[in-house]
């Protein structure tokens, strides 16, 4: 590969972070457009990457766009080593797209504009890095780099309880990461010769590491990733962070950050520790089931629109965990990936739309609204569209992913997840219940014309930020095969690795 596309994707936003910091602080418009520019390029690159991958490489499970390994810190054998395969390409696409849209959606930020956009670009750089790092040290650095801008983004521009939410997010995630660090060090010293190369570790670890140490390392990594997903019972940071964060940051949190947890499992834990995966598969599926049901029930009880969407994430990521429990089924794992992608689109859009409403009404309380459908038809149409997508209406991406998860988990050769899957299907009904109830109470019924007479319709910029998401949701809902083809070969290889 002549053109180091992944490096450009990581370092253009990083360069943007530095460049924006040096812009004069009063020139808000300049800062906004400069940031949009610096996130537009990686988005275009991610589209190009997906295009190339789809047409040239989607049949093989090999890493492509590989850069390195270039020696970075020789004494500990850390390398600069990047690459992408069928798991990372969709995630890179999602990251590129959502980052750009979030920056567009942030144009209404007026407080400390320069810092906001520079932190956002730093965040983007870290996220892209996580999805293409193939060296453990590099992976960990990117994983942690995102925490700081996220902490500031929630803490400075967040809602009323921002300080609490920001530090809770920071501490919680760091707490998870340290277990990953211990696991990395154990893996490093167990491998012979010592290496931090993930691909090598995937090949060699099952052979050299003892059973109980495998279980321990798997458990350590699981804690780190599960906190990010978040898997019940590690989810308590999520509602605080999502609700207090500014709109665009919630989009990134739900759309990209949560995926890093499941991505880490697919990229690292599952193939590296097949024995441990088999050992823990059923408990993991049960955790998924609990998350699905619990998340849905809690969403149903929410009075705040944003909180409802936040808890719905817990429920939706539960499907991913259920699918990951069915490690032997390519369909289930594909469903997991599909769900990661589709949840990124749908929940991202829902957060954007809730933000649009909040900007105008300055409240998110469901009970405060009613009959908005007559006053804001375009907004209502979009919101209803994404609510339907979230509850898994056929024809949209949410349906495809949930269907694949259920089919895959139900028919998986091992472990036997039939009962758990059957119970998880209840989640669909519960999701429909809370989504429909929300739609009914906010958009249908009597319009309070006195209170909300000043509400204005969604503007063009805001429509533009959600339109691509709507388009993609319907596109891959109706015609899912491009996405499944991209990841098919990689996931088949992954399932074979887990059968070792």
């Amino acid at each position: 590969m002549d053109f180091p596309i992944l490096t450009y994707m990581i370092f253009i936003p990083l360069f943007g972070f530095i460049a924006v910091m040096f812009l004069p602080k009063e020139k808000h418009t300049l800062i906004r457009w400069a940031s949009a520019f610096f996130s537009f390029i990686p988005m275009i690159l991610s589209f190009y990457l997906t295009y190339i991958y789809y047409f040239n490489y989607s049949g093989s499970a090999d890493m492509v766009f590989v850069e390195g390994p270039f020696s970075w810190i020789a004494p500990i054998k850390a390398h600069y080593y990047l690459g992408a395969d069928g798991i990372s390409v969709p995630m890179l696409f999602l990251t590129g797209l959502l980052s750009f849209l979030s920056i567009l959606a942030s144009f209404n930020i007026t407080n400390r504009v320069k810092e906001y956009f520079s932190f956002f670009l730093l965040l983007e750089s870290g996220m892209i890095g996580v999805f293409c790092a193939l060296d453990f040290f590099l992976f960990y650095v990117f994983w942690e780099v995102m925490l700081v801008p996220m902490y500031f983004l929630i803490g400075v521009w967040g809602g009323p309880r921002k300080e609490y939410a920001a530090i809770k997010f920071f501490l919680y995630t760091l707490f998870g990461s340290i277990f990953m660090l211990v696991a990395i060090l154990i893996l490093y010293f167990t491998s012979d010769p010592h290496t931090l190369n993930m691909l090598e570790l995937i090949q060699t670890t099952p052979g050299v590491m003892g059973h109980s140490l495998q279980l321990l390392c798997f458990a350590f990594l699981f804690v780190a990733f599960a906190i990010k997903v978040p898997v019940w019972p590690f989810h308590t940071w999520l509602p605080d962070a999502h609700v207090e964060a500014p709109t665009a940051v919630s989009v990134i949190l739900a759309g990209v950050l949560l995926k890093m947890g499941t991505y880490g499992m697919l990229r690292i834990s599952w193939p590296m520790f097949p024995e441990a995966t088999r050992f823990f598969a059923v408990p993991i599926a049960i955790l998924g089931l609990i998350a699905i049901i619990y998340g849905a029930l809690v969403s149903m009880a929410q009075k705040d629109l944003k909180k409802l969407v936040a808890y719905s994430s817990v429920s939706h990521m539960g499907y991913c965990m259920l699918a990951l429990g069915a490690y032997s089924s390519v369909t289930a794992i594909s469903g997991c990936m599909f769900q990661m992608f589709s949840h990124g689109l749908i929940t991202g859009a829902l957060f954007l739309l809730v933000g649009v409403l909040y900007d105008r009404a300055h409240t998110r309380e469901i009970a405060a609204f009613g009959g908005l459908g007559s006053k804001l038809p375009v907004f209502t149409g979009l919101m209803v569209l994404f609510s339907m997508a979230a509850l898994g209406l056929p024809g949209m991406s949410g349906f495809v992913s949930e269907f694949m998860v259920f089919i895959g988990a139900f028919t998986a050769p091992a472990p036997d997840l039939m009962i758990i899957t059957a119970l998880a299907v209840l989640g669909v009904v519960l999701t429909a219940a809370y989504m429909l109830r929300m739609v009914q109470r906010v958009f249908l019924g009597e319009f309070n014309s006195e209170k909300w007479s000043g509400l204005t319709e969604i503007n063009v910029r805001e429509v533009l930020t959600v339109a691509p998401l709507a388009l993609l949701t319907i596109l891959i809902g109706v015609y899912p095969s491009p996405l499944t083809n991209i990841m098919k070969a990689t996931l088949e290889n992954l399932v074979n690795l887990m059968a070792r």
Partner: protein, 487 residues
């Protein structure tokens, strides 16, 4: 015919003479030029560094003075910490210390000379003398605000505890001499091993020696349970001196520890040497330091006390690398101290600047600082995040190496504990950031910084970013020091 090889101590001689010159110059110019003597002091330190580069490598005075990579590495740290301490004290000199300005800088340099001799000590007596020369000027410096009750109290406390710990250390060293019949550290290592084999275990005398030396050096390092003096002294002393205490003087303790324990008592680190296994004893103390330091720091409202407890915890992390007694262990400790120099000196420099402008050390008074002084706030945030070990700042790489050494040596429990306490530490470091960035009230304090302090801050930030992204050169240098011990 003994080979004195005086060439090797040219840097130390120069720095000593320069200290005298600074004092004389200040007197000669009737103390009119506080800025000039400050820059002269900084220049002298830089010149010493150049001399160090020109004259190093070899032994002199019959192995009493070793100019090996370990000494060189730590001398760079000492000079760096003295340079940064002097650089951040210009406002203090101009405003608070009207008399004895030259002596202030002179004493800093004397202390630095002591550290440099200590780092090169190849035998116990010169090591002890180096340690005393390091500490005694610091007693005076801690009490330098002589009209301020807290400062005088700090100086007195530090002197009493320092004298006490020196006595204990000396007792321990005399026991080592009694057991091995030599003060030369390498000879001591051999003789102790022979004694161990001949007598089938040395017995309690060596354990007493280990405990006493550990206590003596533990006081200098503020290692739990010998840390009680640190918060009060750190709070009372002029802030640049606090910084010097927490970095330079601590690094001196670290190198003394390496010389005595990792070199002299090398064979006794392992658990099979029970009850003489100092590795496990130190591991327990390190665990205690990390727990106590980090938990106590949570409640502090004064930034200097917070940093004092944080430095107690940091020495616990250093000890994780130390107990590994391996090439990576020694290298990681060196790297850690090197990075600690940038982060801690930087954080104290910001505290100094803040105090010079507002007269306050309370964390609450940092509220809203990021609005009025965005640059200094950003720097402070970088220093604190590096201390917390967040990548890509160098503090992370330092922690990573130290923990890697710990895992490699089988101290997995200690590493897990260290990481858990590192999460706790983030809370109080982030608390200052929260004040600066998230706090709503904005007193619009405008911080004026002298040029010298800006230099210090920029060195600190640049070091943390450059060596965080590209740690290899310093790490290789630090790993090179481990060759001294022949791993």
């Amino acid at each position: 015919m003994p080979d004195y090889n005086l060439r090797l101590i040219i840097p130390e001689i120069f720095l000593f003479l320069w200290a005298l010159f600074i004092i004389a110059f200040d007197l000669g110019t009737k103390r009119k030029n506080p800025k000039l003597i400050g820059y002269l002091t900084m220049g002298g330190i830089a010149a010493t560094a150049v001399l160090l580069y020109l004259y190093h490598g070899g032994i002199s005075f019959n192995n009493m003075f070793k100019s090996d990579p370990l000494a060189l590495f730590f001398k760079v740290i000492f000079l760096g910490s003295a340079f940064m301490a002097v650089g951040s004290s210009f406002d203090i000199i101009a405003q608070k210390i009207k008399n004895h300005r030259g002596e202030f800088f002179g004493l800093v340099l004397f202390s630095t000379v002591g550290m440099m001799f200590l780092a090169s000590a190849g035998e116990l007596i010169s090591l002890y003398i180096g340690l005393e020369l390091t500490t005694i000027p610091l007693f005076i410096l801690a009490a330098y605000y002589k009209d301020d009750r807290i400062s005088v109290e700090a100086g007195l406390k530090y002197m009493v505890i320092g004298a006490f710990s020196s006595a204990i250390l000396l007792y321990g060293l005399s026991l080592l001499y009694g057991l091995s019949g030599t003060t030369d550290i390498v000879m001591m290592k051999i003789n102790l091993a022979l004694l161990y084999l001949n007598t089938n275990g040395i017995g309690w005398a060596l354990l007493m020696a280990i405990v006493m030396v550990l206590a003596g050096i533990g006081f200098k390092l503020a290692l739990v349970p010998f840390h009680m003096w640190a918060p009060d002294v750190y709070q009372g002393a002029p802030t640049p001196i606090t910084a010097l205490l927490s970095v330079g003087s601590k690094a001196a303790g670290v190198v003394a520890f390496m010389r005595i324990f990792i070199d002299g008592l090398y064979g006794f680190a392992d658990a099979v040497m029970f009850p003489l296994d100092w590795g496990n004893i130190v591991a327990v103390l390190a665990a205690a330091a990390m727990i106590l330091g980090n938990i106590s720091a949570l409640r502090q409202k004064n930034i200097k006390r917070m940093l004092a407890y944080s430095s107690i915890a940091q020495i616990g992390y250093v000890m994780v690398g130390m107990v590994a007694v391996s090439e990576l262990g020694v290298g990681s400790v060196g790297y850690y101290m090197f990075i600690y120099l940038f982060a801690n000196m930087g954080a104290f420099a910001v505290a100094t600047i803040f105090n010079d402008n507002t007269g306050s050390d309370s964390i609450a008074s940092y509220a809203g600082l990021s609005k009025s002084s965005p640059m200094i706030s950003a720097f402070m945030a970088i220093f604190l995040l590096s201390l917390a070990g967040i990548p890509p700042l160098a503090g992370f790489a330092a922690k990573f190496f130290v923990f890697a050494a710990g895992i490699q040596a089988g101290y997995t429990w200690l590493v897990i504990l260290a990481l858990l306490t590192a999460v706790v530490s983030l809370y109080y470091y982030a608390n200052v950031i929260k004040m600066m960035y998230f706090a709503p009230d904005n007193p619009t304090i405008k911080l004026n910084t002298p040029l010298s302090a800006n230099i210090v801050l920029i060195i600190g930030v640049a070091g943390l970013i450059i060596f965080g992204v590209y740690p290899e050169p310093i790490l290789n240098f630090a790993l090179d020091t481990a060759r001294v011990f022949g791993f």
